[in-house]
Every structure is written in C-alpha cells, then in structure tokens.
C-alpha cells in the first residue's frame, strides 16, 4: 500500500536526519576536543 511507504518514510526521514546531524556534531566536537586540554572545556 502506498500509505505505508509514506508513513514509514516520514519516520525514517526524521530519525535519519536527526541521527546524521547528531553524529556529525559529536564527531566534530571530538576532533576539536583533542586540541583543548580537559580543564579548559567550558562544561566541566
């Protein structure tokens, strides 16, 4: 059925997009964190 693809598709689009964004953010900040000593990190 057509509807099923649309419904599952919209959940998939949401989760994949948010997931990719989250992954890219974490990866980027990990790479940056290597260059900053732990005591300087603003959230600690």
């Amino acid at each position: 059925m057509d509807d099923l693809g649309f419904i599952v598709g919209s959940y998939a689009v949401t989760l994949v997009a948010v997931g990719l964004f989250a992954w890219s953010v974490v990866r980027r900040s990990r790479r940056l964190a290597e260059q900053v000593p732990p005591e300087d990190r603003p959230w600690t």
Partner: protein, 250 residues
C-alpha cells in the same frame, strides 16, 4: 589525527557529561517508544485514516523548530544587551538556529508526505505552510551570515542583529500571507480537518512533543559545546601565534 581508534570513551576527547549521556539514553528510549506507539499502538483516525501516524512525528518537529527560533531570538537579544553580553549567548543562538533549520526542513518533508495522503497534494498555499517556507529560507540566510568570518564578537553582533530582524519580519510575512490567503478560500484545506482525537492519540502526540524537546536539548548542548570548542581552539591559536610572532624578533 589517528581517526582509526573508534573507542568512544577516551578521556581526552570526551564531549559528553553524565547529564547529556543520561539525557541521550532517555531520548533514545523515548524515540523507540514514540515510534512504537505512533506506528502500531494508536488507532487510525476516522477522517485521515492511517496517515494520522505521520502527525506524531510532524507536529512535534514543527513545534520544536519554532521553539528553536524563539530561543535564537532571545539569546540574540541577550547578547546585544550590554549587561548580559557573552559569546555563550551567541553560540546558543547559532546552535539553536541550526537545529531549528534541521527540524523545519524535516517537518516540511513529513508535512508534505502527510498532505499527499490526506489532501492528495504535496503542497498547498495555506498561510501556515507558506510562512513556514519563508521562515526556513530566512534562517538558512541567517546561518550563511554566521559563516561569513571575522572575529568572534563581529560574528556575534552581526548575526544577533540579523536574528532580531528575522523576529520582526516573521509576523509581517505571516500577516501578509494570511491576508493574501483569505482571498483564496478554496485553497485552504487545512482548516477543515477537524480532528477529534481520542485519549491515546492525544497522549502519543504529547509524548512526541516531550521526546522532540529532549532531542532538541541534547542537540543544543552538544552543538553549543562544539561551537565553544571551536572558539577556544581559535583563541589558543591566537596566544601561540602572538608568542610565535614575538619570537621572530631576536
């Protein structure tokens, strides 16, 4: 530089805190719960049929996008106000706008999928839809301006002013689109779908809003940290650069 080590817990590159880690786990559980309820547990709607299931992902997403832009506006104002001037506000504004654009992009897609099933069309020139599209483009422009470069405070001041201009622009655009739309009554299919929701459906929608809010908070914290790290890396670079320059003179 050795990106091959995929161990996540190495202390020298951790960006999470116990709080965000717990928040992340709760969010993940919430996402699973929401998907299960949205896709399987809730009943089909009397008018919309199965397509109502999209709503449990679409409505919270759209709502969060608006919330994200409100946060951007407030933190921009906080930056511009002398007594609370801090780059933290600027970074929150930027991170929030980025997440807002993401959520808004997603909800434009899910919304048009829902529209195709319910109205038989991907897009209608409904006032809310049209305003949303304009809003999306406006914040894409805001993000482009954030990336223009310059010193931190330069970036912060420029983008804060732009964000406040956007706050001014949105009601004006919305009002004009609504006026325009009122001329074309036949186009507004949206207003007529009077949904009477039962308890479970309402609960799932509510759950969706909570789950998306948690998602937003998690993303905002992490994105903001990444921006703070970036600024820090720039600053330490400056200290080293000054020292290196001074050393050139014998």
């Amino acid at each position: 530089m050795t990106a091959s080590t995929a161990t996540t817990g190495r202390p020298d590159r951790v960006t999470g805190t116990p709080f965000t880690r717990a928040l992340g786990i709760v969010t993940l559980v919430g996402v699973l719960w929401l998907s299960w309820f949205g896709l399987f547990v809730t009943p089909a709607d009397v008018n919309q049929g199965e397509s109502v299931r999209i709503m449990y992902a679409h409505v919270p997403g759209a709502w969060l996008a608006y919330l994200a832009f409100v946060v951007t506006g407030i933190s921009s104002a906080a930056y511009l106000w002398r007594r609370t001037r801090s780059l933290t506000w600027d970074r929150i504004a930027g991170a929030s706008a980025e997440i807002g654009v993401l959520f808004m992009g997603i909800s434009l897609v899910t919304g048009s999928l829902w529209g195709r099933l319910t109205w038989g069309t991907f897009w209608t020139w409904d006032a809310r839809l049209t305003t949303t599209a304009f809003l999306f483009v406006t914040y894409v422009g805001y993000l482009a301006v954030r990336n223009l470069g310059g010193s931190h405070h330069q970036r912060a001041r420029r983008s804060a002013v732009l964000a406040l201009l956007a706050v001014l622009e949105i009601p004006l655009v919305h009002f004009s689109v609504e006026l325009w739309n009122s001329l074309h009554q036949e186009a507004s299919v949206a207003g007529n779908t009077d949904v009477t929701m039962d308890g479970l459906m309402l609960f799932t929608l509510f759950l969706g809003v909570i789950v998306f809010t948690l998602m937003y908070v998690w993303l905002l914290l992490h994105r903001q940290r990444a921006l703070a790290l970036q600024d820090l890396v720039d600053d330490t670079g400056l200290d080293l650069a000054i020292a290196a320059r001074r050393a050139e003179v014998g």
